[in-house]
């Protein structure tokens, strides 16, 4: 029996994959699946002043920015239900997004120039989220003011939930929406993150 094990050891050693081969094959899979239209979404992770972020893109554009406290694994599982399960870790497909965000975090970028996929949101929430880009960099509006500017002055609470469910925070700047008394209100990435973004924009 021990000599059978010797044979199996030899087989195991001879076929042993090294990490470099696996990485190379993974990149090839990303490339081929994109060409063949099999990729439902790609994702990557990046470090930022407000913690680690997960970026997810479909063919149509950036579809989700997740904060660490949302539980990345859970977000991936949810997205695989909503966008399709064929998602691959593919930093190379999100390089331009990561670059623009890095420029934003250093104060060098005030507007994003990215294709966005708003398929995770809809209705009044989407209307509000799309409106957010009209709040200038470095300035803020109250939930009430946003409700007024989308033509529904009584909808402050609905504006609040639109901000809370914004799939593309930072890029659609829900951090620029505060309570009427100037207090922070809420933020999916946590209030300290909201504070950091507002400070960053007022300093730049």
């Amino acid at each position: 029996m021990s000599s059978d094990n010797e044979v199996l050891d030899a087989i195991t050693t001879a076929t042993q994959p090294d990490q470099a081969s696996i990485d190379r094959l993974h990149s090839r899979l990303v490339e081929l699946s994109a060409i063949e239209g099999l990729l439902d979404a790609s994702y990557t992770f990046m470090q930022s002043p407000i913690g680690e972020l997960m970026l997810v893109a479909s063919d149509a554009g950036l579809v989700k920015i997740a904060f660490e406290n949302e539980n990345f694994e859970q977000v991936l599982v949810d997205l695989s239900e909503r966008l399709g399960p064929r998602m691959l870790l593919a930093p190379e497909r999100l390089e331009h997004v990561e670059l623009e965000l890095m420029e934003y975090f250093t104060g060098a970028r005030k507007h994003f120039d990215l294709a966005l996929d708003l398929s995770l949101t809809g209705g009044f929430r989407q209307l509000v989220q799309q409106h957010l880009v009209q709040i200038d960099y470095g300035s803020t509006k109250s939930y009430k003011e946003v409700a007024e500017s989308v033509g529904n002055p009584k909808a402050s609470r609905a504006v609040g939930s639109a901000c809370a469910t914004n799939p593309l925070p930072i890029v659609l700047p829900c951090h620029r929406v505060l309570r009427s008394d100037g207090s922070l209100g809420g933020y999916a990435g946590g209030l300290p993150a909201k504070r950091i973004l507002l400070d960053l924009e007022s300093a730049a």
């Binding site: 087989i11 994959p17 599982v77 998602m87």
Partner: protein
């Protein structure tokens, strides 16, 4: 609930690569691996959630590896079976595992039975479904293959000593 395909790749990439190396040979293994995962990705949305993912991938790896091995040998002689002897196996310079020479000399059924059982983790019964024949015949092919490899390892190491 279906996991993101990245998790499937992360969990099974190495196993599938081992199987492809053993079946298609080290030179064609990368192509076989890539085609296996592309085929798997195409079919993934319709894979039943309770399916054994590793067994599913090994079956696909079998089909893709055989396709590649066949297409490499069609120019010489169109054949319904795997080519015998070492016609399709190349030895990359960096890889000096002498066992590849012995693996190349195994009859196809022995080689595939070993690959899918010991590297792919499939039970003999399931391998019999893929290759045809009885569970017993697959078990025997595997055991004969291991014996043949052992004999050639012993022979090679004896040659080492006399050199």
């Amino acid at each position: 609930m279906k996991q993101p395909f990245e998790h499937v790749v992360a969990q099974h990439a190495a196993t599938v690569l081992r199987v492809c190396r053993f079946v298609a040979g080290p030179n064609d293994a990368d192509d076989a691996w890539a085609e296996t995962f592309i085929s798997a990705m195409r079919a993934y949305p319709t894979l039943p959630p309770e399916a054994n993912v590793q067994a599913w991938l090994v079956r696909i790896a079998h089909n893709r590896s055989i396709d590649i091995v066949r297409s490499r040998s069609t120019h010489a002689s169109p054949s319904e079976t795997l080519p015998h002897q070492d016609s399709t196996i190349g030895l990359p310079e960096a890889q000096d595992h002498e066992i590849w020479i012995s693996v190349a000399q195994l009859p196809p059924k022995q080689r595939l039975a070993i690959a899918y059982h010991y590297l792919g983790g499939l039970p003999f019964k399931e391998i019999a479904e893929i290759l045809g024949g009885t569970t017993e015949s697959v078990r025997k092919a595997s055991s004969d293959g291991i014996k043949a490899l052992r004999a050639s390892i012993i022979k090679n190491s004896a040659q080492e000593v006399t050199r």
